[in-house]
């Protein structure tokens, strides 16, 4: 394949994994991100990496790792993904070691394992306090390797704006804007992979990194892509099917951008592992999809892309034209405070309704925005304004999801519904954008390997009742 037909958005552990694994198979790809590793919360992940190593005779097993992952997810994680992830974990460890990662070891040279919360056995490898940083850097070396070989085209400093969808509803590429020249370009592709990270920065930008605000997912959501499970702080994301494909054909999502692996809460040490696993599993499903495509992107009229570029220019202009007295960064701070206060660890119908009201207020104040910068060169304010616009949509979806889920499960703890209710809510929350607000639908979970032990009504097992 000479032409780059796969575009990956996001250069954290999941995006780099997808890029490197494609390159290893000789597939050339384009890796786009607004800030490269500087925008990746992968860099900050300190939890470590779970793997049940076959040589470790301590009674642990891949089965236990799987069960504990699913139990901690409170049965909302995708069992087939998680199972395969647990099985493959030791191979990721050997691969990472082979490309030069050094896990922390004892004086005798044996790798050290931490026993983290919710684990029955010590099975978390780590690189001192910097596991995410070290894994990110080692993958970044591999990305450079394939850049030099011409298989990865890295485009850093490009802000993802939108996907390009044809008349038949098939994703044909993306538009992105150069953060310096503010040029908007399209990147035609047969498959687009969103690896744009989580929405953790919605409330605390200084904790998860400046760019991890969920705005890329928000932009997709506005274009008709379903989000899911957002009420579970930090584990929801873009809805995907068993191929990691979204509801738009040809559009995939991996890593923390997707909702597949974590369910209601993630087992500590599974996040980096799931980022690696989802990135590496993606290649086969996207290649399979591309081979089944009747019309390749090369046969698509350039007008489709020009039209989307025009739409994005127009959207930029709507921000530049606003002439009110609201300061973007004040609004952003208020949104963060709002999520923390009303949709944080302690939430109830009352607080969530207040949150909803506040978000709608911020939305109307955004119309009276006053940017200090109207230039067309490295205009961070314009970029941030666009991001904020989408963050509001995501925030509203978080609150709506939390309001309707009248139970407590994982990281979603309702003061007014303190019990888990499997009868009504052993389900995936699927969220669709409408101009009037989020529309929510519940989807059944495929309990393929493991079922809750007592799936009766509103059972509380006290061990589930942990907060946050």
């Amino acid at each position: 394949m000479t032409e780059s037909t796969i575009v990956i958005v996001g250069s954290g552990v999941s995006g780099m994994s997808a890029a490197v694994s494609a390159a290893q198979k000789g597939i050339s790809i384009t890796l786009i991100s607004n800030a490269g590793l500087a925008g990746a919360s992968s860099l900050l992940d300190q939890e470590g990496l779970n793997a049940v190593m076959p040589w470790k005779n301590d009674g642990d097993s891949i089965e236990r790792h799987f069960e504990e992952s699913i139990e901690t997810s409170q049965f909302l994680a995708r069992q087939d993904f998680v199972r395969h992830m647990c099985e493959e974990a030791p191979r990721f460890v050997s691969y990472l070691e082979r490309i030069g990662l050094l896990f922390s070891r004892s004086a005798t040279g044996a790798p050290l394992f931490k026993k983290l919360k919710d684990h029955s056995h010590p099975r978390t490898l780590f690189c001192e306090e910097r596991t995410g940083f070290q894994i990110s850097q080692i993958l970044n070396q591999q990305v450079r390797r394939f850049e030099k070989a011409g298989l990865i085209q890295r485009r850093e400093g490009w802000e993802f704006l939108s996907v390009v969808i044809d008349q038949r509803g098939v994703c044909r590429g993306i538009t992105a804007m150069d953060r310096t020249t503010m040029e908007i370009k399209s990147y035609p592709a047969d498959a687009v992979v969103m690896a744009s990270g989580s929405y953790g920065g919605l409330c605390m930008p200084s904790k998860g990194g400046y760019f991890c605000d969920g705005s890329a997912a928000g932009a997709l959501y506005g274009q008709g892509v379903f989000l899911a499970n957002l009420e579970f702080t930090g584990t929801g994301g873009i809805w995907v099917d068993h191929r990691q494909m979204t509801n738009i054909e040809g559009l995939f999502a991996v890593g923390s951008a997707s909702m597949a692996y974590q369910g209601a809460q993630s087992l500590p040490g599974n996040r980096l592992l799931s980022n690696l696993h989802s990135g590496f599993s993606l290649v086969d499903s996207s290649v399979h999809y591309i081979s089944s495509l009747e019309n390749k992107v090369s046969q698509i009229s350039p007008d489709l892309f020009l039209e989307e570029i025009r739409r994005q220019h127009f959207f930029n202009q709507t921000f530049l034209d606003r002439s009110g007295n609201e300061n973007l960064y004040e609004l952003k701070t208020e949104l963060g405070d709002c999520i923390t206060q009303y949709a944080g660890v302690n939430r109830s119908e009352g607080s969530l309704k207040k949150g909803e009201e506040k978000i709608r207020e911020l939305d109307s104040r955004l119309k009276k925005l006053n940017l200090s910068d109207h230039s067309n060169w490295r205009n961070h304010e314009l970029l941030d304004a666009r991001r904020f616009y989408y963050m509001l949509d995501v925030a509203l979806a978080v609150v709506k999801g939390a309001l309707l889920r009248r139970e407590s499960r994982g990281t979603h703890q309702r003061e007014d519904y303190p019990k888990r209710d499997d009868r009504n809510f052993l389900k995936t929350t699927k969220i669709a954008f409408t101009p009037l607000g989020p529309e929510i639908e519940y989807e059944d979970i495929h309990l393929k390997y493991l079922k809750p032990q007592a799936p009766a009504l509103a059972v509380v097992d006290e061990s589930w009742n942990r907060v946050g």
Binding site: L43, R98, G100, R130, T180, F211, Y329, S372
Partner: protein
């Protein structure tokens, strides 16, 4: 609430002239330089009371891990997100790094650095499906060096501080040499050493180092770049002799 003055070197575009603008921002102890810059975004008004364009600066991890926010703070390269204003003398003078082309205000284009990292080939060529060669566990002292060298955030402070690194020379600088040393610490990494040493022998390679040692003082991670450079110099010498004897 106290106020503090920021004196910022500004430039609208690469080809535009620079100018200085002062800002009085509210300040509470413990605030970082990045937090002070956020205050300007919230109130883009200079110390003469004039409305102005808010200052453009780079933000990333906010936790000292990505190097994106490096700028000159009171004349020294530092990470804005990790530099607490309390101990800085006022006014706090902020300038973009001088060794890279300015894009706008405090944002520079570090692509020369990133391209040199690709050129240096500091990686191990092995794929997911390759068989395991059996891991050789490095000694504790090697592990210690590895931890140190692998903590590089690619902030570029060492390049800023280096008199040999500038637009007139093609010197790759301390961080890139450090990355080669990092890979050469590992047995698997040594397999392609010859290729990397060739790059180190070319123009812009390790021989351009002037041994001033500013890089060590500038590095926020405290990486001993001086000994990494010395090791690569030795490897280059040995390689040259080896090639001579052919």
């Amino acid at each position: 609430m106290e106020t503090i003055t920021l004196k910022i070197k500004r430039q609208e575009r690469p080809e535009a002239p620079y100018y200085w603008e002062d800002f009085k921002v509210s300040y509470t102890p413990g605030m970082t330089v990045t937090a002070l810059l956020t205050q300007i975004q919230k109130k883009p008004i200079n110390d003469r009371g004039e409305a102005t364009q808010s200052v453009v600066y780079e933000n990333g991890c906010c936790q000292g891990a990505c190097g994106a926010c490096t700028m000159l703070i009171n004349g020294r390269p530092r990470l804005a997100c990790s530099t607490i204003a309390d101990h800085l003398s006022a006014p706090i003078v902020l300038e973009p790094l001088t060794k890279f082309p300015v894009i706008r205000d405090l944002v520079v284009d570090r692509s020369r650095f990133f391209n040199d990292l690709i050129r240096a080939s500091s990686w191990i060529s092995s794929d997911f499906n390759n068989p395991d060669a059996g891991l050789v566990i490095p000694s504790e002292s090697i592990q210690k060096s590895y931890r140190e060298l692998s903590s590089c955030t690619f902030c570029g402070s060492c390049l800023e501080a280096c008199p040999q690194y500038n637009s007139r020379s093609s010197f790759v600088g301390a961080a890139v040499i450090g990355q080669i040393r990092l890979i050469h610490l590992l047995p698997m990494g040594r397999m392609e050493a010859s290729q990397r040493l060739s790059i180190m022998m070319e123009e812009g390679g390790v021989e351009d180092c002037g041994h001033v040692g500013n890089c060590v003082k500038a590095c926020p991670e405290g990486i001993d770049l001086r000994s990494a450079i010395a090791r690569i110099e030795r490897e280059v010498t040995v390689e040259a002799v080896r090639r001579l004897l052919g």
